[in-house]
């Protein structure tokens, strides 16, 4: 079975997914594309030698009966409408983050999907497919060192463009920890607090950098995340889980060990795209394989998209108030529990 994709949004991320489906992964084919910039859409078809229809807009694309799944890679504010349209048309959806820009928008998608009656949507939270996080999750579930009590994380970027604002530390950067950490410990967030440490001289005036984000979960787990987006030295993702009988730590990215000029040196990544490049491949391959095998995607759900939106909102409030802000989710619908947990 080959899954026929229609791609909405042919910017940088859209093109990467098109390349991936066309030239790296197995089981999928791009049969249609659209973009607000029609030229860009046409150009992509040529660039990758696609046998694909170029539609004027997502509405037209969603009417194409030859499309099995829609890949949403447009601007964030356009996601909700495309995803709702795809569900309406009964198509599978792989949607880049955010699922929608508001919690309410995410809920509308959740409700539409439940009404449809089976899972169609997967959100592009790729970290769950990273081998390091998978090893952490296995160790936690295998009870290797007992119950988790605390998680210490860092999310460091070498630098950011000048349009990056203080709230984007949450919505663009922390958003990945928000998703992966609640999945990791199978828990929900209770409150969040944001502290602004001494600011680096490398951040522009309008940007608070670094930031410390502190969560408590429903079961009392303490989580702290350093977000530092002008750390200069590299792209660096840290995660240590402190448990009742020991600790678990995400491995460093492997690289050649060089001894030179009185130092042991191991190269670090500068480009964030390379850190999770395998995870990007795996999330999309899993999306296709799961649909082919079970008729439903198995990755991050629309409900996970809703959690991320509610949590990010609380984090941004916490940036503004300097106080602990509650994170209140509605009850998780049975629809989103894995069969084994119902």
């Amino acid at each position: 079975m080959t899954i026929r994709f229609g791609v909405i949004g042919t910017g940088a991320i859209g093109r990467e997914h098109i390349d991936r489906i066309t030239n790296t992964l197995s089981g999928g084919r791009i049969v249609a594309v659209t973009d607000v910039n029609q030229d860009a859409a046409n150009q992509v078809v040529n660039q990758f030698g696609l046998d694909a229809v170029v539609y004027p807009d997502d509405k037209a694309l969603l009417e194409d009966k030859n499309i099995d799944a829609v890949l949403v890679a447009s601007w964030g504010s356009a996601h909700e409408a495309s995803v709702l349209g795809a569900i309406e048309a009964g198509k599978y959806v792989f949607c880049e983050k955010p699922l929608a820009t508001t919690a309410e928008g995410c809920m509308r998608i959740v409700e539409a999907e439940m009404k449809h009656g089976k899972r169609l949507v997967q959100v592009g939270f790729m970290r769950r497919y990273d081998s390091g996080y998978v090893q952490l999750k296995e160790a936690i579930e295998g009870n290797v060192v007992g119950e988790p009590l605390m998680i210490h994380c860092a999310h460091r970027n070498a630098d950011v463009h000048e349009r990056y604002t203080t709230d984007m530390a949450i919505t663009d950067t922390l958003i990945h920890e928000i998703d992966v950490l609640h999945w990791l410990v199978n828990d929900d967030y209770k409150w969040v607090e944001v502290i602004f440490p001494k600011k680096t001289k490398h951040a522009l005036d309008h940007l608070q950098d670094p930031q410390m984000i502190i969560f408590e979960t429903k079961t009392g787990l303490h989580i702290s995340v350093e977000v530092f987006v002008n750390c200069k030295f590299g792209y660096d993702i840290q995660c240590e889980v402190v448990c009742e009988e020991g600790t678990l730590k995400l491995p460093e990215v492997p690289n050649v060990l060089v001894k030179k000029e009185a130092q042991l040196r191991v190269p670090l990544l500068m480009d964030w795209k390379l850190r999770f490049i395998d995870a990007y491949d795996k999330e999309l391959q899993d999306f296709m394989d799961s649909i082919a095998r079970t008729g439903q995607p198995q990755g991050p759900t629309a409900w996970d998209g809703y959690i991320a939106a509610v949590t990010a909102d609380a984090c941004v409030r916490a940036q503004q108030t300097g106080k602990r802000e509650s994170i209140s989710l509605i009850d998780k619908p049975a629809f989103y529990y894995p069969p084994s947990e119902i």
Copy 2:
């Protein structure tokens, strides 16, 4: 362009490649299979849901005009005939090691390929596609720490089956170092010596284990490889290159870091198949991509297969004589130099 594969040999390795081409990689399709065990061939077609012809033997398969490339994964002694047949038929060949069981057999393939006039053959030396070795090669070619002078390696398997004999430490195990090391430093072997250290109690009577293999290259580089196939603790590949201004070391396989019971513990691989699983994918994807892009495979050549055969022969002689054995290659044909080096 989709490359249509005919597979000769549907044993364990053959099935893995079929699975890879069918379910993981992009750009290839299995259209024919054959195996000395016809039932096995039929079963594979069912198992992977292939739309493929089952041929009674490689001769019949090679006559199929719909086949672009042949994947040879039969017993080693059958490789030469299949590869020669494929060249005769003008088909591409991806041949698992060994290319042929004798240096003369390899030379016949080299000559047939040169007569054909362009490269058709790639040998399955996957380590050249491992990210660690690639990083080593880049560091050497980038002159990060100057000219290589010595290489210290270890190739350790947790254990081996009882039919594993002393010479297989060369032909099945060291063979990977033989290929990857001369590629790494772009040099040829001059002599080899084999030393048998104290034998582990975990080796059966008929098997000398561990072994130390010492090479000198044409330019005087010193290479030592520990081969230890009943090391019990894991599958462990080490490579350190000592250069004029520093050293380069292959990274360890990354894994979660556990602190527990008074120890820092990092899991090691036990199963050799997992160590180079990415490299297996990459070598075959590169085979397909290179053919699609340039009309010729770019990976390890028939000439590399010849080098491996000549070198392995000398190593086995050195096991028997306990002395330094010369490694004599004929002059490398211009055909096998990269265009940039001619």
Copy 3:
């Protein structure tokens, strides 16, 4: 010059220092001891073969003109009186933590020492002599990666006795971070907050364990310290300083690397005494050497003892209120600035 020591308190720590001065270090000699338990004092003299007078109490010992320096290793509540008595007698004092059990007591010592006119007192904060912290300090002062912005620490003990209470996480455990961190970044604390994460099942009912302590310094540096005293797996001290151009991390304690049973394993310390054993030697050797060379000790001062007391008080309040508590020091007297900084 040999420094003649009178030791007040011959319990476990007192005996260790006596052993150190007698059998390991150079330049000191025990000439007098006292303990509330007179038998214990006599026994120590025999055990170490000392040529030393046993006094009935610290008052009598302090009158001995043959004593150059007093080593205070009695119960914490007795420290203040002994130290004041030693200053009164014009003797040098090496005082184990705490200098006094209250900030006011510490201030009385500070004032007495200033009145005396030159430094006599060193407090036993040994971490400043640990080679790892010294390397961190050199890297910070050498501006290796720019200005510090955040410090992430952990202080983990395998377990504690049943009399260990929640406030002792501050006064017995965190007290070392309190001293070493302000020294490390040459800054003062501004406020502290204590968070109680999910409690480990290995802690007795009366004890909150683990705890997260968060400081902000005068210059805005963010410091977080995990204190976890029933972590089971070992004695583990972590310190990472995040700076404007990179990070600095305390090295792990070196130990033999073992590959065994599918794991890389490195032994961790279980016994806290072994972690800083070199630092204990160095602090006392430095005390003796500095007095011999300059007439004054150069290690942690009475003022540092005062900082520790004020800060620990605020931390204990923060444990009780769950809120940010201010840390207010009086102005640092010129007397305690190094000559170069006045």
Copy 4:
């Protein structure tokens, strides 16, 4: 008990030991010195403020009844006579390597000591006191990973002075591995072979650098040591013991971990003196403590000095012949077995 030392040879190493005994260690005192350069001897007395007699030569010094132990730190060729004289005078001797410049000279010392009837001599092989080697030895004797089969070592110096010759790679450099490795595995050497790899451009014409030295022991253990004395990047000591159930590896020297400019960097030592600085202290403290406690030194014996001399001779022959050279020791006298092994 204070051990009164007479020092023969007040060059660099002699002065370091004088400093150590006077200012760092406990239990010793320098009471006499001599040097072929009388001015140097006088200057040392002033420099360290010693209360010590300056003798015109070692003969005069050895007659001083107030001397308990002699520290021999003169030129290698003068060692034998001084050590024999000290034994004759019934004094303890701490002798820097080499014990004597010939195997015959070492044997004369062994015989003199046996005739004296109890151990007097300790040779300055400090590595046995390094915590890393001690951990290796404990792991081997504790059977942590079974019986040793192979040892892979490297001994790398950043650079050497221009008077350093090819044989000094054995007598000045490898000599430390020669001693520590046979102690580590409690085995004797059988043969040695020396291979000269490609020469570094950083070595002067007269010097073969690097060198590979290969040993086989009596029980069949394979040992290889890379000696590379112009490696440029640092002073680097490696030792990996491969055993029947796993491997053991000497830890790296701990240092602050710096992330900076796209690299993880850990400083390496450049100065060899710093690598074993703790071991230098411990060997001499142990010499004094053992004498005080048991009346005999417990460290490396005159017999170990003889082993080192015989082995180094064979290594130098192997450099010249390019062949395997036998290492033949006479039978080890019962005198030199630890009581437990007789």
